[in-house]
């Protein structure tokens, strides 16, 4: 059973995602990084589901894919509006909530 390999793949993908979310300035890239993190979680769920012999992991993965699609839809809509207002999508400049 290649559990370790799968878990390592998940961890690498997650870390790539975190890095992308924290470091990229382009909002679209941030969204894509979130997708990476979600897929890393999916891989983990499938792996543990297979290991335990339960179908729940696959069911959860399907739910997450559906929700991720919705999330990307909402996220891209936000990005579009931000672009229309500001003519760029740099998340570094979105600091209206600055204390």
């Amino acid at each position: 059973m290649l559990v370790n390999q799968f878990l390592i793949l998940g961890a690498v993908l997650f870390c790539t995602g975190v890095y992308g979310v924290l470091a990229r300035r382009n909002a679209v890239m941030v969204l894509m990084s979130i997708e990476l993190m979600l897929n890393a979680v999916n891989i983990n769920l499938l792996t543990f589901g297979l290991m335990v012999g339960s179908i729940s992991g696959q069911v959860f993965a399907l739910f997450i894919i559906a929700i991720a699609a919705a999330e990307v839809g909402v996220g891209l809509a936000l990005v579009l509006l931000i672009y229309r207002n500001r003519s760029n999508i740099d998340v570094e400049e979105l600091d209206l909530m600055h204390g």
Partner: protein, 720 residues
């Protein structure tokens, strides 16, 4: 009907509510009598049914009424000679002659009551007590009230507050009937106060005039003085007898189960209540002023019914007074002296009044004094008899005065009347009949009742009351004289007022004639049997004595006796009355006697001034007592205020200020403010520090989030 007597006060009570709620809608506010008069007529019929119901009840117990009455008298005479209440054996032996049967099988009062509320194990009850005394009063109150209701249709017509007037007439009737039927002393107090309130409202009916509202206030305030006595007396009775029930209190007082001192205290306190409500010296001053009310109200409340409430209360709780004042054995006591003196004092005042209603008011006080005196000398029956006849002829006199005033431009000043006998024949005739009845001229009602009082005073119970007899005879003379004076000024001579007087319509003369009939025939109610047998009315003799006296059911009260009539005294009383009339007749009609005496003699003038100023009692009350409170007492109070209270207040104030200052500088500024400022600056510094983190940049938040999560993950890994 005797069991359902509660209907009698209930009906006028409902009529009061109905008039108050719907009265204004009938005939544009001038039709309240369409409710009031029929209800009172029903009440009158019910009272009559109650009277006959009670008579039947007494007859059923003692089938031979005549025999019962006569044996009662022989027994009473026997007891009067035997005398000593401490020898019951002798009494029983005397009673063997036949009256004992009457004492064993006597008609008990009909009591019906329900629990009103209960507190601390004591049930406060409300109900009706029907006996001879109650039904007598029921009859008097409902009769006069009905006639006054009818009379007022004309007299108060067009008044602004016509509805209000009728509402409170009904209210008064309800309150008085409630009072009369009281089964316990709490109910008595309630009824007593209710009639006081309605009296206040009706005296002040025309309150737009300051005099009227002042008179109402005076009546109310003076009555409050006596009411304190009522409360104290009733409380003493409750703690002495352990019960509020009238029959229980009477039984215990009559049988000597209450200490004499307690009874004396109770009787004394209750006498104060009699002073105010029944206008006895020295609290009578409100009654003449109460004449500010509409005349029918004066007739109903301040002549016939409410003012006899005190007399009724004494009669109702008679054993308390009888034992408390030792009426049976003494030859002078507080109650008799009070009544006798009041009768004389008020009669003297009646001579100098120019207001016809005030003459009648003083006459009422005088006659009430007669009743109280009768109770004081032990002539219970005579007092109730006089109450009955007095209600009839005094109501007639007041309504007559109202009729005179109605005819001659609403004045009551006799100097603006005169010569009215020609234009007002009905009023004149009824007024003269009622005056003769009041004066005590044979064979009108007043003669019989006054004679009984005089006999009572002469014979007493065990010893006579000579001083009271003297007062009684003197007042008989004076009464006749001042009433003749009123008739002279009102109906004889030349008319001295404005406009043309005219006879009043039938709604006014009708009640006058009915009451005049009562004034003529009222004496039949309690004729002495010696007289009644002669004129073939033997069965009707001693009605009040036979049916109303409570001694019939108070066994322990068997020392009580009714004095036998005396022909000589009757003739003396009659001669004095006729003498009074004759003297005044000669003085005014024939112009004989010392005219202009007040101009010639200093002493006569002084006496006259003394009487005109009503013995300076009003000056005493308002000038000395009230100003005494206002003057020196007020100054003393001011001094105390300035030097004691103010000093204390200032001291307290200054020390409070010093304490405050210290607290301000040390605690407030130092501790409290320091804490608050410290807290706020600490918060500010923290905020400044944390403000840096609040960059608004999502990725920075994200890094912190993931960093924290990573740290937590490491901790978990290490720990677990």
């Amino acid at each position: 009907m005797l069991e359902n007597a509660y209907l009698i006060p209930l009906l006028p009570g409902l009529s009061f509510l109905a008039i108050l709620l719907f009265g204004k809608r009938i005939k544009g506010g001038q039709g309240a009598h369409y409710i009031g008069v029929p209800v009172l007529a029903v009440v009158w019929v019910l009272s009559l049914v109650a009277v006959f119901g009670w008579i039947n009840r007494v007859d059923d117990v003692t089938p031979a009424t005549e025999a019962g009455a006569t044996t009662h008298e022989t027994a009473a005479a026997g007891v009067g000679t035997a005398g000593d209440p401490a020898s019951p054996v002798v009494l029983a032996a005397e009673g063997e002659t036949g009256a004992e049967a009457g004492h064993e099988a006597v008609a008990q009062p009909v009591i019906r009551s329900a629990t009103w509320w209960s507190n601390a194990g004591e049930n406060f009850r409300i109900g009706t007590l029907v006996d001879g005394l109650s039904v007598t009063l029921l009859f008097v109150v409902s009769t006069v009230s009905l006639l006054v209701h009818i009379y007022s249709i004309e007299y108060v017509r067009g008044d602004e507050r016509y509805t209000h007037y009728y509402a409170f007439l009904s209210f008064f009737s309800a309150a008085m009937l409630f009072f009369v039927l009281s089964q316990n002393i709490i109910q008595m107090i309630v009824g007593w106060e209710l009639v006081g309130v309605s009296s206040f409202v009706l005296i002040g009916h025309w309150w737009e005039s300051l005099d009227n509202s002042n008179a109402a206030m005076k009546a109310f305030m003076t009555n409050r003085v006596g009411d304190v006595g009522l409360l104290v007396g009733m409380i003493i009775l409750y703690f002495a007898a352990g019960s509020f029930e009238v029959p229980v209190i009477n039984e215990m007082a009559a049988s000597g189960q209450i200490r004499h001192l307690l009874l004396l205290a109770a009787a004394g306190s209750l006498t104060a209540a009699v002073m105010s409500k029944s206008g006895q010296f020295p609290l009578h001053t409100w009654l003449p002023d109460a004449m500010a009310g509409p005349t029918p109200v004066s007739a109903l409340i301040h002549a016939a019914t409410m003012v006899v409430a005190g007399v009724y209360m004494v009669a109702r709780l008679y054993p308390v007074f009888y034992e408390g004042y030792s009426i049976g054995t003494s030859s002078i006591n507080g109650l008799a002296l009070l009544g006798g003196f009041t009768a004389f004092m008020a009669a003297a005042l009646a001579f100098v009044q120019w207001d016809i209603k005030k003459v009648l008011a003083y006459s009422t006080i005088s006659q009430l004094g007669y009743m109280v005196m009768a109770l004081g000398v032990g002539a219970w029956t005579a007092a109730i008899f006089h109450l009955f006849t007095h209600a009839l002829f005094k109501a007639c006199l007041f309504l007559g005065a109202g009729s005179v005033s109605h005819a001659s431009h609403h004045t009551f000043d006799m100097r603006e009347m005169g010569g009215l006998r020609k234009v007002m024949p009905h009023t004149y005739k009824t007024f003269v009949l009622a005056s003769l009845a009041l004066a005590g001229v044979f064979p009108l009602a007043g003669f019989w009742s006054k004679d009984e009082i005089l006999v009572g005073a002469m014979r007493g119970q065990q010893s006579g009351y000579p001083l009271m007899l003297f007062f009684g005879l003197l007042v008989a003379f004076m009464t006749a004289a001042y009433m003749t004076r009123v008739i002279w000024y009102t109906f004889w001579g030349e008319y001295r007022g404005h406009g043309t007087p005219h006879e009043s319509p039938a709604l006014i003369t009708g009640p006058l004639w009915i009451l005049a009939g009562g004034a003529v025939l009222g004496g039949l109610v309690n004729l002495p049997s010696a007289v009644a047998d002669k004129i073939g009315l033997g069965g009707a003799a001693h009605l009040i004595e036979t049916y109303a006296e409570p001694v019939r059911y108070l066994d322990q009260f068997s020392t009580f006796s009714v004095a036998a009539p005396s022909l000589g005294l009757a003739l003396t009383g009659l001669a004095l009355a006729l003498g009074g009339i004759l003297a005044v007749y000669l003085y005014y009609w024939r112009r004989l006697g010392p005219h202009g005496l007040t101009e010639q003699s200093v002493w006569a003038r002084r006496g006259y001034t003394f009487l005109v100023n009503k013995y300076y009692l009003d000056h005493l009350y308002t000038g000395i007592i009230a100003r005494g409170v206002r003057g020196p007492v007020a100054q003393a109070a001011y001094w105390v205020n300035q030097n004691v209270i103010d000093r204390i207040v200032n001291l307290v104030g200054e020390s409070a200020r010093e304490t405050g200052r210290w607290v301000y500088t040390n605690i407030d500024q130092g501790v409290v403010d320091g804490t608050v400022n410290g807290l706020s600056s600490g918060a500010e510094a923290t905020g400044e520090g944390l403000r840096v983190i609040q960059s608004g940049r999502v990725q920075q938040y994200g890094s912190l989030l993931f960093g924290a999560a990573a740290v937590l993950a490491i901790i978990f890994t290490i720990v677990i």
